[in-house]
């Protein structure tokens, strides 16, 4: 540790002058031995203000002068009497010893005071940082405290932050990144730099940089040594990292909790909606067997409506699920054939009297997707196509390879969708206005509403990085296209052992 800066040497000079004056006045009146004691007193007092080496030098000079002016023969360094020689030797020894001891004592006291101040600074910094809830607040608090202590401009960059290339300290910052340590006066590296640049290290990880300066040489003495500043920087780094970790943990917990709540809620709603639907379906399907034609018609209506309600419930739930940030897709390798098969089976069951054509060539690549969602998407498209096209016209589900990617299409012979509505129909809760279709019978049908149907389709497509769009069909009607991105195929299956 460096010796702390000494106070100005003027009081010491005054003491020596006073002492010299006193000796000069009393010369002749007092014996030589008494005057020597005065010199010892002067040396002792002066050592309170001087460094050890200065004390020793001053004492030696004083003894030499004493010899020159006062010891016979005067005005020579020659000493006549043995007892005077002994006196001078004792005088030199005593005053040197006293100055060394006094200055050591003083340095020790100064060091202790400095350590106490450092401890106080550490405590203040720690308290200031712990009561701050944000990392930015911590940096502000630390800068203010350090600025107060060093009287120097303070700058902090937390990784991955960095100073602008035009910043005064940019080069210094860069050098400290390269050196991976402290640089500047007192560090042994880049001593000529006008700023002290310290890494902020929490453990072994460097989390940022602290810069003090610009400063004149010697300014860094004011707040203590580089080691003390490094200790403060370490404290700051530890506190910042603790807070960052805390904040991260809290955010993760919050997110987890929110997701759990949402999942619980969705599961509950899903269960609570499906059970009454199951009751209605069960009752109606049970009664459908009874003979009365009126009852049968009524039952068919109930079943269709229940089915519709069930579809809307599922759409809403899936939409809510997809809306959750970071909700994972349950992806697996699926064959286009089976996905289409599931859609066709559902549509045929619901509309046994409608013509639904399928065109799924063999040998299409597998799709990595969430099968439940993709089936729901296609199911919604087919249902819309069936609802909005004339009863006698078939609806077509087609799969093919387009530019190396799987493209699925649902084609109908309805009256088509006007170009300006082809994007808007994917908005949630939008209903196609009658003027968009120009057909009142059709308007009647659309009043049933697609609700979230197409919006869910868009959300599912987006979740799979697939494109979903609407085109006019040649010869009248609509084509809804879904194109997946080309995917690297999994390893081929080996022949079983």
């Amino acid at each position: 540790m460096r010796t702390p800066a000494l106070k100005a040497p003027w009081p010491a000079l005054l003491i020596w002058l006073a002492c010299g004056g006193a000796i000069w006045l009393l010369d002749g009146a007092w014996p030589l031995g008494h005057l020597a004691l005065l010199l010892v007193l002067g040396s002792t007092l002066a050592s309170l203000w001087l460094s050890t080496s200065a004390c020793v030098a001053a004492s030696a000079l004083a003894v030499a002068l004493f010899n020159w002016f006062l010891v016979t023969p005067r005005y020579t360094f020659h000493v006549q009497l043995d007892q005077d020689l002994l006196l001078l030797a004792t005088l030199l020894g005593t005053s040197t010893l006293i100055s060394v001891l006094t200055s050591r004592l003083r340095q020790h006291a100064q060091m202790q005071a400095e350590q106490a101040r450092q401890a106080e600074r550490m405590q203040q910094l720690a308290a200031g940082l712990q009561h701050t809830g944000s990392v930015a607040g911590q940096v502000r608090a630390a800068c203010a405290l350090l600025q107060g202590w060093t009287k120097l401009p303070v700058a902090v960059w937390l990784s991955p932050q960095a100073p602008d290339e035009t910043h005064r300290l940019y080069r210094a910052w860069q050098a400290s990144q390269q050196e991976q340590g402290s640089i500047g006066p007192g560090t042994g590296r880049y001593e000529s730099l006008d700023a002290l640049v310290l890494p902020l290290r929490a453990g072994v990880q460097r989390i940022g940089t602290l810069a003090l300066g610009p400063a004149r040489p010697g300014d860094f003495g004011a707040a203590g040594s580089v080691e003390r500043l490094q200790a403060l920087a370490r404290l700051l780094a530890d506190e910042v990292q603790r807070l960052q970790a805390d904040l991260q943990t809290r955010a993760t917990e919050d997110r987890l909790q929110a997701q759990q709540l949402r999942n619980t809620l969705l599961a509950a709603i899903s269960h609570d909606y499906r059970t009454p639907l199951a009751t209605i379906t069960g009752a109606a399907s049970g009664l459908q067997d009874s003979g009365d034609a009126h009852v049968q018609t009524a039952m068919r209506t109930i079943l269709q409506e229940t089915e519709h309600l069930h579809r809307m419930t599922t759409n809403t739930l899936q939409m809510a699920r997809l809306d959750t940030q970071g909700a994972p897709l349950v992806s697996s390798w699926e064959s286009v054939e089976e996905l289409c098969g599931a859609v066709l089976a559902g549509a045929r069951r619901r509309h046994p009297d409608r013509a639904i054509e399928a065109e799924v060539p063999a040998g299409l690549p597998l799709l990595r997707c969430d099968p439940v969602l993709v089936v729901q998407l296609l199911d919604n498209l087919v249902e819309n196509a069936l609802r909005y096209s004339p009863h006698e016209q078939p609806v077509r589900l087609r799969a093919h390879l387009q530019e190396g990617a799987v493209q699925l299409e649902v084609l109908d012979r309805g009256i088509g969708i006007a170009p300006e509505w082809r994007e808007k129909v994917f908005d949630p809760f939008l209903r196609v206005l009658p003027q968009a279709c120009g057909d009142t019978g059709f308007a009647q049908a659309t009043r049933r509403g697609m609700g979230l149907g197409l919006a869910l389709c868009r959300a599912v497509a987006k979740a799979h990085q697939a494109r979903l769009w609407i085109e006019a069909r040649e010869g009248g009607g609509t084509v809804v296209c879904l194109r997946f991105a080309a995917q690297a195929q999994p390893e081929p299956a080996p022949e079983a052992p």
């Binding site: 059970t275 199951a278 379906t281 069960g282 599922t314 064959s335 098969g341 063999a362 079983a496």
Partner: protein
């Protein structure tokens, strides 16, 4: 004596509706709403239970716990009805010994059909596994490694045949992906779903007239495959 069905469903409305419907079709139905009641009825009812229709969400336990308990005791067929749509749950139940599942809402006709399959299959499975399958022109003789379609022999690779034979063993019932992968490719391949997708595609290309709308090799989305009931 008519077959005795234990209906475990905590929703009173649905239980009453299903009970009435099943009774109309000639079953004797005992209803209950909790795991505790179900266990007591299974153990102590004077008329033995022939089939259990089990709802998953019960007030005092999850239906899967009742299933696990029941499977330790006896082989009574269990048909799960569930409002949950997550496939993992369904697959877990099937692997744990459930015979089939239905997702709410479902029609009474569908429930009755599944019950008939479960009951018939139990009767057969206890004796010998199916070695011969015949339905609508498709004939499979597992013992002789022979497959024919409308009288014409069909050539299958060894793996294709093993896959088909595995489905024949439980014709009419759903077999989960994991079961199929473990039995055909070995237990270390239970997660290689793509093997199944590819081989099932090949099988359908050889056997089905319209592979996207299969007549025999039916897909159970997210769960597994089912070979259509033998005629």
């Amino acid at each position: 004596m008519s077959l005795h069905v234990l209906l475990v469903e905590d929703d009173r409305q649905l239980r009453q509706t299903l009970q009435a419907a099943l009774e109309t079709h000639g079953y004797t139905v005992t209803g209950c709403a909790s795991r505790a009641d179900a266990q007591a009825l299974l153990q102590h009812h004077p008329q033995p239970i022939d089939l259990v229709v089990l709802d998953l969400g019960l007030p005092d336990a999850d239906g899967s716990e009742l299933l696990a308990w029941l499977r330790q005791q006896r082989q009574t067929p269990v048909l799960v009805i569930s409002a949950r749509h997550d496939d993992a749950g369904k697959v877990g139940l099937l692997d744990a010994g459930a015979d089939d599942y239905l997702v709410k809402p479902f029609s009474v006709q569908e429930l009755l059909a599944r019950m008939r399959v479960s009951l018939r299959h139990r009767g057969v499975a206890v004796q010998t596994p199916l070695l011969h399958y015949s339905a609508g022109g498709l004939e499979v003789d597992v013992g002789r490694h022979r497959v024919s379609l409308h009288g014409q022999p069909v050539h299958l690779t060894p793996t294709e045949f093993r896959l088909l034979a595995r489905l024949v063993r439980q014709a009419g019932q759903v077999v989960t992906h994991r079961q199929l992968l473990a039995d055909v490719w070995g237990p270390e391949h239970v997660d290689q779903l793509q093997y199944l997708r590819l081989y099932m595609g090949q099988l359908r290309a050889k056997l089905e007239a319209r592979p996207a709308e299969p007549q025999w090799l039916l897909t159970e989305p997210g769960v597994g495959y089912r070979l259509a009931e033998a005629a």
